[in-house]
Symmetry: D2
Subunit: 371 residues, 4 copies
C-alpha cells in the first residue's frame, strides 16, 4: 500500500514538489527488452509543458526528462526505471502569502488539516506539476502497449467542453487536436473557446472543462471482475487527476434515462468474430474490455488560483479575502488532456500485465466453442 | 494485489457465485475489541434483500449472514472476520439458455472472452448477488466508524433519478427514504416512479437511475494525496458497483460550466474552527476530506436482462435474438442504494485506518497556528 | 496489505480459529480452466491430519474440505476459490484455564499484548490448525504448477532431525517418507526417533526438529531482484510456519565457513544447456531460480504446550506455574512437513504468475547469445 | 505488488544500477512533522561506505545522499521522501569481460536467464551497491522509531563469525564494534580475523560470515498473526540482503535440540509488568514482539568475485574458467552489518505503523485484567 504509487504490476511511484529541486518517478514491473530512450518520453512531456500559449500558465519549465536506471544500451532491463526532471523555474517568492492564506477550493487547507506541515511553494505536492511524471510514466506504458499489443492500440484525448461551449461531434476530427492550443477536435469550436478564455483571463477568473479520452484497439478480455474492474481502475485514475470532479464511461450519466434495449449494444458476427453494433458501454462490460474503443470522459473544475477575491481564512484563524497572483492556467482542463492519455496508458498496461499473469502471455480473444 | 479484494487496511475479500452453495467474505484488519454480532449486519442486508416489492427481483433469499471467525464473546479479536450467506433459492434451470447465449450489455460475453469458462448460472460471479457481501462488510465498517469516530458520522443514500424523472431537491427529506420501495427522499416523486416502473415492467424492459450517497460527520484530513485520494478511491468503489457508468463528487459534471469564484467554497471562522459556506467540493479538496459532508452520485444503467429481444450471438457463433426470462429487477438502481452506503463505509473505514497509520490514532483536525 | 493473506498474484487469505465453527481460505488469482475438485486437495490434508499416530495430537478432525466457489463443472473459472473445513472436534473445555494463564513460549501472551482480547480456545487464531488451510491452498497451487510447468516439477519434504538425531544422508530415500509416521527419508533413523519421542512423550515434554523441503524441476528465471527474491519470499513463508525459528537455503549457515571457490557452483555445458556441477546455492542465485532443485531447511521449536511445569503469570498478574493438559504434539515438526511442501508450492505458483506478468507466459530459459 | 519495494505502510522503493548515473529510493508513508536532514542519514551511509579499510573493496564512492522531496524547512511533510546518491567512481572498463562470462555463484547467469538483457557493469542491479539505499531509508526509519517510540529503542549489529572463527560471547562489548574495521564486538577476536582475512585476500579468494542484529526497547505487540509475522518479515528482509543463505531468530537452529521446558522463556512479574527470565524466543512469540530484545542472525556467503579460477560458461555457450579481477570485498559480511541494522529499522517502522492502523497510535502494552 502506497499513497504515491499507481498500478499493481506496471507500478509507478512519483515524488517531488512543485518548487523542490526536482520531480521524479520510479516505474517498476516494465517487461525487459523493450527499446526505450528519453526520445520516447520527451514528446509527450512537451505536449503538457506550460507556457505554450497564452491560455496556459506562463511558468517556463524545460521539463527535460532523464532516465537514471532500468535501461541499458537502449533497452529496458526489467529493473526499475527511474525518471527525473529538474525544476528550473522556481519563483518561490510568488507564493510567499500562500504560506499562511488558504485559497478557497484548493488543497492548501486540507493538507494542513491532515499533515499540519506542508511545502506551500507552488502548491508543493498538490501542484499539478506532479502530473508531468504521470505523462512520463505513461510514455513508458505506451511503449509496453506498442510492443505487446501493437500499433493498433491507439490512445487519444481531446477537450470537448469549456464552460457551456461543447464541440460539435459531427465535426470531430482527431487530427485537429494537434493544430490548436486546446486539443480541440473541432476547428469550428476553437475561435469560440478563444473568445471565452480571453474573457475569463481578463476577468482574472478561471473556468471548468470536460476531457474525453479514447483507446482504440484494446484487446478484449482486459480487466477483472468485482474490485479490479477496468472501469473501476480507470475511474480512480481519472478522478485522481487534479481538479477532476466527475468521471463517466461510455454513455455515462445518460444511461439513467435509457431503457435496457436502448443501452445494450447488439452483437453480430463478422468474419468469425463477434462485432458490436454500437458502443454505449464504452468498451467495457462487467469490468472487462469488449474489444471496442474504451471511452471515458471527466469534468475538471475551474482552478481556485484566481484574481477574483474569495472570502477565506488564514493559518492564524483570521478571516481574509484571498486573491491569488502568480502564473496560473485559466482552464486547467487544457493541460489535463495529455495527462488523461497517460492515465489511460497506465491503466491499460497494468491490466495487460495482470491479464498475462493469470491468463498467459497470448492476448485475450473471444473463444468461440469448438463445437 | 487481488482481483476480489477491496481496501488496504480495512480489507474485504469476497467470494462466491450467484448459484453456488454460498457467498462470503473475509474482513481483515478490523480493530480488536469492537462489539459485533450478526445483529449488527443483518438489518443492512435486509434492506438490500430481493423480493421486497414488485419493483425488485422476485428471487427469494433469506440472506441470513453468519459470522464464522474473528469475533469471540461478542467482540472482534483483530483477526479475520469471515461472513457467509448460504444460497437457498437457486433455480438454476431458469438460466439454462444463458449458458450459450450472450445477453447484449451483459458480462456474459466478456467473462467468456477473458476466462473461456464461466459459471453462467444467474450470472455466476458477475451477478449483483456479490454485492450482498459488500453490504455485510460495510456493516462491519460502520461499526468501526461508530466506535472510532462516533455517532456523528452518518452515511445515507437515496435514489434521486429514474429515467428522466428526478426528485425535487426542495422537498428532500431523508426520513422518507425508508417509507417507500425506492429509497426516494421525496414523497411527491414516488407515485411518478411507480407509474414509470409499472410501465417499464409491463413492457418487459428496464430503466436506468441515479443514486446519491452522503456521509456527514466525516473527520477532516482523511484521504491522501495523488494516488490514494479519497475521491479517487470513492470513484473506484462506486464505479465498481454492477452497472455503474458514471460517478461524480460534489458538483460533479456541473463544474465544467463554473467560474473559479463560483466553484470555490468560501471559508469563515466559527467558534475557532474553519467553516465552509458552501459545499461545491462535495467534502473533498486535493483528495482529502474537509470535514463537510462527502457527497457522491452515480448513474446505473438499465439491466440487460430484459424480455425485449436484442440481436446477439451465441457461443457457437450463430446470430440470434436474445430474450432473458427469469426474475430480474426492472431498475437495478433501487437495490444499489444500500450498496452505495456500504461502499462509502468501506472507503471511509479504510482511510480512517490509513490515517491512523501515518498520522496517529487521534482524529485529524484543523491545526491552526499557535502564534 | 493484509495480515492474513499470502502471495501476490496467487493470493491466499485464510480465516478461522481452532475452535470456531469452521476454518477456511480464499484463493484469488488462480488461472481459469484448470481441472480441480476436492479430490485434488483432500489427500494432502489427510497427510497433515492429526491423530494418525501416537506421535501426533489425538485431536480427531475429519478435515474434510469443501470447495464453495470458483470451480464450475470441474474446472476453475478464474474467480476466487473458497475452501472450507468444518471444525468437528472442539473440546473447548480442555482449554478452560488457558483463558487466563499464559503458556511460556506460546503466543497467548503476545496476542493479549497486541489485541487485549482473544479467542483462547485451542490457541484460537495462533493454533497450527490454521496450517490446514495452507495445505489446502497449497494443493491448488500444485495444480497450477502441474498444468503450467508440468509433472517434472516435484515438491517433497522430509523430517531430517529430531533433537540431536539426524538422518543419515547417505541412506536418503524419498520413498521412505510415506512409510513411517515421521516423514523420515532414512529407514534406519526411524527406530531411534521412535525411542526418543516415546521418552519425550512419557516425560510430558516436547522436542524440536528440522524439516527439509526440495522442489525439483523448477524453471530457471523465477524470482525477482531485491525485495521479491525467491529466497526472500521462501524465508518469509517458512519462518511464518508456527514455531519456526530458523530458515536456510542451500548450504545455509555452512556458507560462513566456506571460501569463494568452495561455495560457487561450477557451470558446464550439456547438450546446449547450462548445467551446474553442484548445488551449494540451493537452486537460487541473486533471488532467481537457476533451474537446479530449490532446497530449504527450517528449525521448528518444541511446542510450549507441555506437562512439565514452567514459571509464568496469569492475566491477573499473579505468578503461577503453568502445566498444559490437553492433546498436543510432542514434536510439532512432524506435522509441519506437509505444510512445508504447501508453502513451497504457494511461493512457486506466485512467482510463476509474477514471471508471466513481466516476462510472458512461456517458461523462462537460459537464452544463449545467437552469435 | 512491486519487485523493488520493501514494507507496506513505511514503504521504500529503490532504483539504480551499480554503474548508472545514480542510485536512489523513495520512502512513502513517513509520518509528517519529523525533523529530518541529510545529516541524519549520512553517518549511517558512511559506516557502509567502501574503501574504509583494506578488508573492503577499494572502490571509492563519496556516497553523498541528497533529499529531493518530502522535507520542508527541516521537517517531513508526509509526502514521499526521495533520496539520491550520485555514482562517481564508475570504472566500467573493469567489468568488460563480465559482460559475457558468468561468474559461478553470481546472479550474472540468472539475470540473463530471467531477463535476457542486463546491465552487467559492476553487477548492475544485482550489485550490493543497492544496499546503500537500504541504509539511507533505514536512517529515515530510525527517525520514525526515535520519535514514535523514543530513544529506548536501539538497533545494533555486529559481525560474530568469519570462516570458522567466532567471537567469544563472554567478551561481548557493543562499544567495540565501532573501534575495528569488522564491527566486531570482541576485541580479542579482531587480530584473528585480520590474519584470516589477510590470508584470504592474498590467496585471491573470499570467505563467509555471520552477522547478528539486535533491537532493544521494541514495544510489545508489534507484528501480526499468520502472514505478517514480525519474524516472517524480518526473515524476508535479512534473506534479501545480497549473499545471505540462512536466517535465524533467537535460538534459531539450536531449538531443534531443545525440550519444551528448555526453550520456553519463563515469565515473572516485576513492578506490575510481565518480565521474561530468558530470551530463547529472540523477542518474538507467535509473530508478535514480547518487549524483549528482538535478536536475529544471518549467514552470508563468500563473494563469487574472486581471483581463483572456477569452471564456467559464457553467453556464447563455451566452457571457460572465470577469474574476476576488479575491486571486491574479501568478506562481504563486513559491510552487511550496517545493512542489517537498516533492515531491522525498516521492518520495525513498518510494523509500528501497521500497529497504529489497527490498534491505535498509543504504543502496545501488556494489558493485565482490571479485575
Amino acid at each position: 500500500m502506497s499513497h504515491n504509487s499507481f498500478g499493481h504490476l506496471f507500478r509507478v511511484t512519483t515524488w517531488g514538489e512543485s518548487h523542490g529541486p526536482a520531480i521524479g518517478c520510479v516505474v517498476d514491473g516494465c517487461p525487459p527488452g523493450l527499446m526505450l530512450s528519453e526520445g520516447d518520453i520527451q514528446p509527450w512531456l512537451d505536449q503538457r509543458k506550460p507556457g505554450q500559449s497564452k491560455f496556459t500558465t506562463q511558468r517556463r519549465e524545460a521539463d527535460e526528462v532523464r532516465i537514471l536506471s532500468g535501461v541499458f544500451e537502449g533497452r529496458t532491463t526489467g529493473t526499475p526505471i527511474a525518471l527525473e526532471i529538474q525544476n528550473t523555474d522556481q519563483r518561490s517568492k510568488d507564493y510567499a502569502d500562500i504560506a499562511t492564506r488558504y485559497r478557497p477550493g484548493h488543497a492548501d487547507v486540507t493538507y494542513d488539516m491532515k499533515y499540519g506541515h506542508r511545502d506551500y511553494r507552488g502548491g508543493g505536492r498538490s501542484s499539478a506539476r506532479e502530473t508531468a511524471m504521470r505523462v512520463a510514466a505513461g510514455a513508458v506504458a505506451r511503449r509496453v502497449l506498442a510492443e505487446l499489443v501493437g500499433p493498433s492500440l491507439r490512445i487519444r484525448a481531446a477537450l470537448v467542453q469549456i464552460g457551456a461551449i461543447r464541440v460539435d461531434r459531427g465535426r470531430w476530427d482527431w487530427t485537429r487536436t494537434t493544430e490548436n492550443p486546446f486539443f480541440c477536435p473541432d476547428a469550428g469550436t476553437v475561435p469560440l473557446w478563444e473568445d471565452l478564455l480571453g474573457e475569463v483571463r481578463k476577468s482574472g477568473s478561471s473556468i471548468g472543462a470536460i476531457v474525453e479520452v479514447a483507446a482504440e484497439g484494446v484487446p478484449a478480455g482486459l480487466g477483472a471482475p468485482i474490485y479490479a474492474k477496468l472501469d473501476s481502475d480507470l475511474a480512480a485514475a481519472l478522478m485522481g487527476i487534479n481538479g477532476v470532479k466527475g468521471v463517466e464511461i461510455g454513455d455515462g450519466f445518460e444511461v439513467a434515462q435509457l431503457r435496457g434495449e436502448q443501452n445494450a449494444d447488439p452483437m453480430r458476427m463478422d468474419d468469425g468474430a463477434i462485432v458490436f453494433e454500437s458502443n454505449h458501454a464504452g468498451g467495457i462490460l462487467g469490468g472487462i474490455s469488449t474489444g471496442q474503443p474504451v471511452v471515458a470522459r471527466f469534468a475538471i473544475k475551474p482552478t481556485s488560483s484566481i484574481l477574483v477575491p474569495v472570502p477565506s481564512v488564514n493559518r492564524q484563524g483570521a478571516e481574509i479575502d484571498v486573491v491569488t497572483r502568480g502564473r496560473h492556467d485559466p482552464c486547467i482542463g487544457i493541460r489535463a488532456v495529455p495527462v488523461a492519455e497517460a492515465m489511460m496508458a497506465l491503466v491499460l498496461a497494468d491490466h495487460l500485465l495482470r491479464h498475462h499473469a493469470q491468463n498467459g502471455w497470448s492476448l485475450p480473444r473471444v473463444r468461440l466453442s469448438e463445437a
